[in-house]
Symmetry: C2
Subunit: 342 residues, 2 copies
DNA sequence: TATATTTGCTTAATCGTTTAAGCAAAATTA
DNA sequence: TAATTTTGCTTAAACGATTAAGCAAATATA
């Protein structure tokens, strides 16, 4: 029953006594093939359970219709939502997606890039690992002449299309909100400065603090790897200060969660004693007690836009034209952890 | 600088004045090629920045070295961890992975299967969508003659390799634990019975209840889609009973979280009034207050085993032999939501 | 009616690798 | 020294699809 040998266009051609070329054209609805033949070909194809060999056509046409994805991890709501939206747009256009994870490791990211190039993807959409400073491997993608699109974690000096949110403005939004809540010593647990988004958040924080004439102290601005564990560490560090803050803005939700744990353990009232704000709108921020104020990054829009940008690039690859930079405005979601008036 | 045309073995051959065949063999360390030639080939290959064309070799060899993955979603800790472990094992053996998500939709799952078959994957590792009842598409994979390995969400009548945990025993473990905590009316918010794992958990629950001579009432066993929202719904339903339970065992962590929210809203003390147990060890279970007792499914082991099973299948494809069924023992993680003695 | 165009195919080359088969030169054995 | 084996390559045919070029037959145009 189970045909071990796969059906090829040659098999169909043999049945109908026509050439393989005619079969190929019939299947692609070529205008130079008669309707009668097309009909017959489709029929036999179905009968023999013909499945086109993607490898063969990809080889011949010089494109694989595969798009590579590199994300730090898939088990974050943000990334999995971006992925889903990219998939939705690209699948409709006949592209399939290969998802790879870097686990925030530079080394893994490099090997992912090699893997994807090896698989002959038609383009790569990526969000960089935290560790990544050396851009050599991303240059490698560019030098292959296939489109590279970055989102969220990008790099200014790489000169490629980028989709992200306005991190600088988001920091302003957050500081403004905390000021309105009556906070006077606002700390920031930020990410690594070499990553564009975290740098922007830090710059936004600094400028906003200045704007509101609040104390801008070295001790109140700490750099973190933004894991849960490091969020705990850095919160403890802030609590140990002579003059601890009355509000903490953490640049990522997981780290904010770590900070919240420490505050609970120390019996510090949130938001009464210390207000807390995270970043990313991970589902758990709405679920913990107190729920955490955070920033929604519009992952769906980012995903769609990244996919559309890729499609545009493959359509007109020669346009060395202007780079696409989509900077979306983020949305502050105020929850219990920073809402004193209720 | 950027060579637009890609280097092929032909280019290498031309430089060295040997045949492309010799180059191919040299690159594969064929014993019939002299060390001198091999060395020269490797050198020129590096110089010209040669990258083998995967499509061509895959076409020729009849295998793509790609493995397809189908999971309900990637933003669950369980699945993302399984994926990571599969990746780790298979990458080492030269395989790359194409991850696809079904979003628990039968239709999406079918299109994922088509996609993967079209991409000429060498095998498929999958966890079925909740919705899936019709197995036609999975039969399609089998009939292609490529290995199909299921994990977690499997099906008994599909007759393929399977890796999962002992759900039946896990239910026993949970009920036993709750009994020890002094609970006397234990409810179960379970998944759909047609899914093997949920059915096993239900069977385990029933048998364990019987074993301990506890009331086995229709109202205490409810079927759920196991989303957060449905967890809320079903919890409300249980609270509305004339005789509500004093313990609830929910078959998935997200639904357990929904249940916990309702209990908090109703000011019901957990675990004092009602004890709560989830399933899956999602990270948030340790982070919410009270933290949720749950079951660790050994996602790393499952991933590794799934990958190894695939490798074994491709090594000896003809062995129609015994099916591989790996049933791992799960681990109960007792947390605040069910721990009355502290 | 003669010529030009369109229709509906076929032929053959190609994409880049792999590999079975073959063949001369070198090395080994008898 | 002659016969055999081994070494180190080459030649050519695949893998399955696509596509430029070509060519009869049918149809349209002058």
């Amino acid at each position: 029953m189970t045909n071990k040998k796969k059906t090829t266009i040659k098999d169909i051609a043999n049945v109908l006594n026509i050439s393989p070329a005619a079969v190929s054209k019939a299947l692609h609805d070529d205008s130079r093939i008669s309707d009668k033949t097309k009909e017959a070909v489709r029929e036999v194809a179905k009968e023999l359970n013909y499945q086109p060999n993607h490898l063969a056509s990809a080889l011949r046409r010089g494109k694989s219709n595969l798009v590579g994805l590199i994300v730090p991890r898939t088990n974050s709501n943000f990334f999995s939502s971006v992925i889903q939206n990219i998939e939705e747009v690209l699948n409709k256009k006949g592209y399939n997606i290969i998802i790879t994870q870097s686990n925030e490791s530079f080394k893994k990211e490099c090997s992912n890039i090699d893997t994807l190039l090896f698989t002959q993807v038609d383009g790569i959409i990526a969000s960089m690992a935290n560790e990544t400073i050396n851009l050599e491997y991303f240059e490698k993608i560019k030098s292959k002449g296939i489109p590279l699109i970055l989102f969220d974690r990008g790099e200014n000096n790489l000169n490629v299309d980028y989709i992200g949110i306005n991190d600088y403005d988001s920091s302003h939004m957050i500081v403004e909100h905390l000021v309105k809540q009556g906070c006077k010593r606002i700390a920031h647990i930020g990410g690594y400065r070499h990553t564009r988004i975290f740098n922007n958040r830090i710059r936004g924080y600094i400028d906003a603090i200045k704007k509101h004439n609040l104390p801008l102290e070295e001790d109140l601005l700490v750099e973190s790897s933004l894991t849960i564990e490091d969020g705990r560490e850095k919160m403890k560090q802030l609590l140990a200060l002579k003059k601890p803050p009355d509000a903490v803005y953490v640049a990522a939700d997981y780290a904010a969660l770590g900070a919240l744990q420490v505050l609970e353990e120390e019996n510090i009232k949130v938001p009464a004693d210390i207000a807390l704000v995270g970043f990313g709108n991970e589902p758990f921020t709405a679920l913990v007690t107190p729920s955490i104020t955070t920033v929604n990054q519009h992952s769906d829009e980012i995903g769609k836009q990244a996919a559309l940008t890729f499609l545009e690039r493959v359509k007109s690859p020669n346009k060395k034209q202007t780079l696409n930079k989509f900077i979306l405005e983020a949305e502050l979601i105020v929850r219990e952890s920073s809402n004193k008036k209720r």
